[in-house]
């Protein structure tokens, strides 16, 4: 079971992502964007890690989305291989049209954007732009719906950090939000520590429509998420105020995303 962790110029989370992949028992390697795209077919799954590909020039993720390696990745997605895009990886998948996956099948359209953060509280904009913090996520999809949350039960709460300036999901595509909700494509939402969805800052950390933090495509093999599970993979990575930090041998909540990917591949092999 071999995973390619894609690296574009400006990616900066590839090494810790690779550690997470290997720590759950999968093989993996960093796959540079300028390798022969055909080599991707030798892998069982893919992670596009976070960072600032091409320095976020023009807008986050768009330059990377035009690379040949992404065309090859579309083909791999088409045959059901799992892909997880984390933060900038999510932005790249959106700009490629792999997420949410076009509402009109095979049109290849970009159906949404991850726009600049706008934090709203009590009807007022209280903050804008880049933000990093620990956030609480509620798993919204049924288990086994999506490759990256395959082994996570619906309603589970995960504490995972975010760090981004453009994570505000917006769309002008008619019917898209209804489709995402109706078909279980909303995978994680930002919530408070008790799992309540409160659609304003600081719970909705970036102004994202309906507090959405992660979505999958219609078949469920492609997941995009703004939070960084690889930064909460081990309990020792948790913040000082979290009691689990004192039990460093325990797994962190982010581990469940990588375990899910492994389980998804095992079940679908």
């Amino acid at each position: 079971m071999k995973i390619a962790v894609l690296q574009f110029p400006g990616t900066n989370c590839e090494f810790e992502t690779l550690v997470a992949v290997k720590a759950v028992g999968m093989e993996g390697e960093i796959f540079r964007w300028n390798r022969s795209a055909g080599e991707l077919s030798g892998f069982d799954g893919f992670v596009i890690p976070g960072g600032f590909s091409y320095q976020d020039r023009l807008r986050a993720g768009v330059i990377a989305s035009k690379e040949p390696v992404m065309s090859a990745l579309k083909e791999e997605a088409g045959i059901g291989k799992p892909i997880i895009g984390i933060c900038n990886g999510f932005q790249i998948l959106v700009e490629t049209g792999l997420l949410p996956g076009s509402i009109e099948k095979s049109s290849g359209n970009v159906d949404m954007a991850l726009a600049q953060n706008v934090m709203v509280s009590q009807g007022k904009i209280v903050r804008r732009g880049y933000y990093c913090d620990w956030v609480n996520l509620r798993h919204e999809a049924p288990s086994k719906r999506c490759s990256g949350s395959f082994a996570i039960e619906r309603g589970a709460l995960l504490k995972i950090p975010i760090a981004h300036g453009e994570g505000n999901l917006v769309t002008t595509t008619p019917g898209l939000m209804k489709k995402l909700n109706d078909e279980g494509q909303v995978v994680f939402r930002y919530c408070d520590r008790n799992g309540r969805i409160i659609n304003e800052f600081p719970f909705n950390v970036n102004g994202s429509t309906e507090s959405i933090a992660a979505i999958c495509n219609e078949p469920g093999n492609v997941l995009g998420m703004m939070p960084h599970p690889e930064r909460a993979f081990f309990a020792w990575q948790l913040p000082a105020f979290d009691p689990r930090k004192q039990r460093p041998d325990e797994p962190g909540p982010g581990r469940r995303v990588f375990e899910s990917m492994k389980r998804y591949i095992e079940v679908n092999a």
């Binding site: 091409y54 320095q55 020039r57 023009l58 807008r59 768009v62 330059i63 035009k66 690379e67 040949p68 700009e95 970009v110 159906d111 949404m112 954007a113 726009a115 600049q116 706008v118 904009i125 804008r128 732009g129 917006v170 769309t171 002008t172 595509t173």
Partner: protein, 161 residues
């Protein structure tokens, strides 16, 4: 009748613009525009609406706040916006709320005391240099905007000819 005046600041880097170079490279190497496109340059555009004061003097003050003369050049256009003939200008702006424009307006009004500032709009102008005649160039400019320069869920564009 509104007596508001509009001060347009066109601002560009006088050092090499890496973002424009990346866009040019992507258009030529990845999106197939190499046979028609010669060059790409970029400007920032601030359109500041004021309800009183001498716009020429205000423009100098605004430029001191918004332009870094160490690395940028600018020109001021009052109540008009025009561009040179040798490229196709494509103006890209957010159609969702533009937080940076709001921040600039509040900074000018509340922190710097320009209470005559009514509104600030911000855009990027992509200057596309083609080796084709204008009608085809304009069509290609539209294609470039839609295939790369904008995400239609947050941006809109206008070809400024």
């Amino acid at each position: 009748m509104s007596m508001n005046r509009k001060i347009n600041l066109r601002v560009w880097l006088k050092i090499p613009d890496a973002e424009a170079a990346t866009v040019k490279n992507t258009l030529i190497r990845r999106l197939g525009f190499g046979n028609v496109l010669d060059d790409v340059k970029k400007e920032r555009l601030f359109s500041i609406e004021v309800d009183s004061g001498d716009p020429a003097e205000l423009a100098k003050s605004f430029a001191r706040e918004l332009v870094n003369e160490n690395k940028e050049s600018h020109i001021v256009l009052i109540d008009e916006l025009k561009f040179e003939e040798d490229y196709v200008p494509v103006k890209v702006a957010l159609h969702i709320e533009d937080g940076e424009a709001i921040s600039i307006r509040e900074r000018l009004r509340s922190r710097l005391g320009f209470e005559n500032v009514v509104d600030v709009k911000k855009a990027t102008v992509w200057k596309l240099y083609f080796n084709t005649l204008k009608p085809e160039a304009q069509i290609k400019a539209g294609e470039i905007a839609e295939r790369l320069l904008i995400n239609p869920h947050k941006d809109s564009y206008e070809i400024m000819i």
